[in-house]
Amino acid sequence: MKILVIVPAYNEEEAISDVIKDLKTNFSEADILVINDGSRDKTSEVARENGALVLDLPANLGIGGAVQTGLKFALRYGYDIAIQFDGDGQHIASEIPKLIDPIKSNVADAVIGSRFLKDSPSDFKSTLGRRLGIKFFEILNTILIRKHITDNTSGFRAYNREAIEFMAYNYPTDYPEPEAVILLGRNRFRLIEVPVRMKERSCGKSSIFGFRVIYYMVKVTLSIIMTALRYRIR
């Protein structure tokens, strides 16, 4: 079984080497593909030195466009499972098996690693404000796809071949995570959540702060509602 770990990274020269080392030691059966999303620092060089495959995008596309590039790569080179794994050090490689077990046993097409499930061992659960926003998406998405997803903003996900084929051409671009949940649910993919542990990012800060929080909430809500209203494409 061919497994690809997609690591989107934008200006992550400080975090990326630990991320790759963690993946190489604790989840060695996968190929690691770092999508360097037009970084202006040494992200690409550092990732190469650490032995990852590196795909450099000539311009910054944002997380959605970067992850989608990885999915296109997975599609093109016949990977059976693609894992989305953040480049900032929030995610833990030894948690990946929990994510891909439901895919291997064919009970799910897409799996989300959640910090908020009841039995989630995650000690890091984000700040209060962010948790409120996440709760809002939980309610909205639960109403719209009648499926209870607690961690809609989690970027720790796994897709099987069918989901890869679909998402390679339909992945949302701007702030994609909550929208991708709706898209998958609406198009009848078997979507489940598993409890995982996450860490606080080791360095850098969230790309969503200040007024962008308002923009993020409005934009994502609009996209979610529109996606739910559109015809199914699968």
Binding site: I35, L53, V54, L55, D56, L57, P58, A59, L61, G65, Q68, T69, K72, F73, R76, T173
Partner: protein, 118 residues
Amino acid sequence: MQLIQLVAILGSLCYLLLILPLVFQRKIHEEYAILWLFFGFALLLFSVWREGLEYLAKFLGVHYPPSALLLLLVGAMLLILIQFSVVISKLSKKIIELTQELGLTKFELEELKKRLKK
């Protein structure tokens, strides 16, 4: 002829004189020129044809007929701006696809180069 009608006619002519050469020189593609030209000629028509404008104003419930011209102009701008949003969205989608394809192709090229060197 009232002064306002003269101003309207001159205004419409200026508008058309600005747009037509741009279309002629292909600085505006024909598909995007359609709306501009349609409303340019519509404005000119109603500036020249006073009864037509009065009929239009009555139909729309506008008391002062030259205001109907302004309404027409605002409508035109709105439509054209919407068209711009559609075009911009289409373009940004294409740019994203091109960027991704370029990234993938560069990756493949590097791998091929490595293999050739060996």
